[in-house]
């Protein structure tokens, strides 16, 4: 169990030389990235450079064709589907650009879903969900349906859903992408300060430099790999 990359630091999440294709499109071509516990990392780069694909591989949603993803020392890409899903539910939270809430469920019911999947009782799940909505400044939205929420409100609910299980890593793909700058700032403030207080790491994809500036570190992707301008074209 020694690290082969010589970095020495113990990364919580480590992707190494990932390759992922969709048909003939090579979305990832050797991308590597490491995330330490509690660290906030921004994935940036031009459209189509593979940011979302890398995020989904890191989150164990997509399986790369080559390369490895290790979480807390064990290979994620090798796990059987069911085990991987369980680990993902317990350890990871996912926030996407448009919130991706279940439209038929109220805000609080949406936040309860991950807990119910983990076989928590309804009453306990509801109490926890309400507490998270409150913490994210969305207590008043508990009974609203997603269709009646603004972009920023949806994102708060989606974040409550991502955080309710106490994940070690929160993945966010353009969490402010559909918001104006000041609303985006609110969402980032809530995300980063909550992660800070729970000790969760955050991996976020963004096109917005101000959002990237909330991260401790930036990883720039280009053509499916981490941009290395030292490589002569």
């Amino acid at each position: 169990m020694t690290s082969t990359d010589g970095s020495g630091a113990t990364a919580l999440l480590r992707a190494h030389a990932l390759h992922k294709s969709f048909g003939r499109t090579e979305a990832l071509r050797g991308a590597s990235v490491e995330v330490a516990a509690g660290e906030v990392v921004a994935l940036t780069g031009p459209s189509g450079s593979g940011k979302s694909t890398l995020l989904l591989c890191l989150a164990g949603v997509l399986r790369p064709e080559a390369g490895s993803v290790a979480y807390d020392g064990s290979r994620l890409d090798d796990l059987p589907e069911a085990t991987r899903t369980r680990l993902r539910r317990r350890e990871f939270g996912l926030v996407l650009q448009f919130g991706q809430l279940v439209p038929e469920l109220s805000a609080v019911q949406n936040v309860m879903v991950p807990l119910l999947l983990e076989r928590h009782g309804r009453a306990a799940a509801r109490t926890a969900a309400l507490a998270w909505l409150d913490r994210l400044g969305a207590a008043g939205l508990a009974d609203a349906l997603p269709g009646d929420l603004s972009g920023g409100e949806s994102q708060r609910v989606a974040m409550a859903r991502a955080l309710v299980t106490g994940p070690s890593v929160v993945f966010a793909d353009e969490p402010t992408g559909s918001l104006d700058r000041v609303s985006g700032e609110d969402v980032m403030e809530v995300l980063v300060s909550t992660a800070q207080s729970t000790g969760a790491a955050v991996v976020l994809v963004t096109h917005d430099n101000r959002v990237a500036a909330y991260a401790d570190r930036e990883v720039v992707l280009r053509d499916g790999a981490v941009d290395d301008p030292a490589v002569v074209r």
């Binding site: 031009p46 403030e189 430099n209 101000r210 990237a212 500036a213 909330y214 991260a215 930036e218 720039v220 280009r222 941009d227 301008p229 030292a230 002569v232 074209r233």
Partner: protein, 174 residues
């Protein structure tokens, strides 16, 4: 001073008259203020004094307008050093970024390492400003910081666009 560097960049492509230098400078930087001849000759005189350019030829008679200038070895070193060094992000750095990138590309140099290093420095500054803004005591302070942040963001976006255009060009040439 950066006008001097742009002129050195032109001379790195071959010896030239002051007149050519002015014309080429203005053509390279269409968004910038055109150079005055007086400024060109004053800059050349200073560069000559500092050993960064040399007189390559004089054409009948004297006077700077009849002189052909060439870049010296010292001048080349100064130029390459300038091209490789990212600027301190700030309200006055923007034009210098354009000068540097255009000069590098005109010399068929890879501008991407510079653009990447500059982006990293700008984002570091952005990080500091955002942290300052998050800690700002009141809305007035946040509004004041917004102004700096938005301008820095404009530079960052220009850096990204430049990198994308350079990459496109590279792909087209492959």
């Amino acid at each position: 001073m950066s006008t001097a560097h742009v002129l050195l960049g032109v001379l790195a492509g071959g010896p030239a008259h002051g007149y050519d230098l002015k014309r080429e400078h203005d053509a390279r930087l269409p968004g910038a203020k055109p150079l005055a001849y007086g400024q060109v000759y004053a800059t050349l005189a200073r560069l000559e004094r500092d050993g960064q350019v040399e007189v390559a030829a004089t054409e009948g008679g004297s006077g700077p307008e009849r002189t052909v200038y060439a870049i010296s070895e010292v001048g080349e070193e100064v130029l390459l050093d300038w091209l490789a060094t990212p600027e301190q992000p700030g309200p006055y750095a923007a034009e210098e970024l354009v000068r540097k990138t255009v000069t590098a590309l005109r010399l068929h140099r890879d501008a991407r390492p510079f653009l990447a290093a500059q982006r990293a420095l700008h984002l570091e500054r952005m990080r500091a400003l955002v942290a300052e803004q998050r800690a700002a005591p009141d809305v007035e302070a946040r509004i004041a910081l917004d102004h700096t942040i938005v301008h820095l963001d404009a530079d960052l976006r220009w850096l990204d666009d430049a990198a994308a255009r350079v990459a496109d060009e590279g792909n087209a040439l492959r």
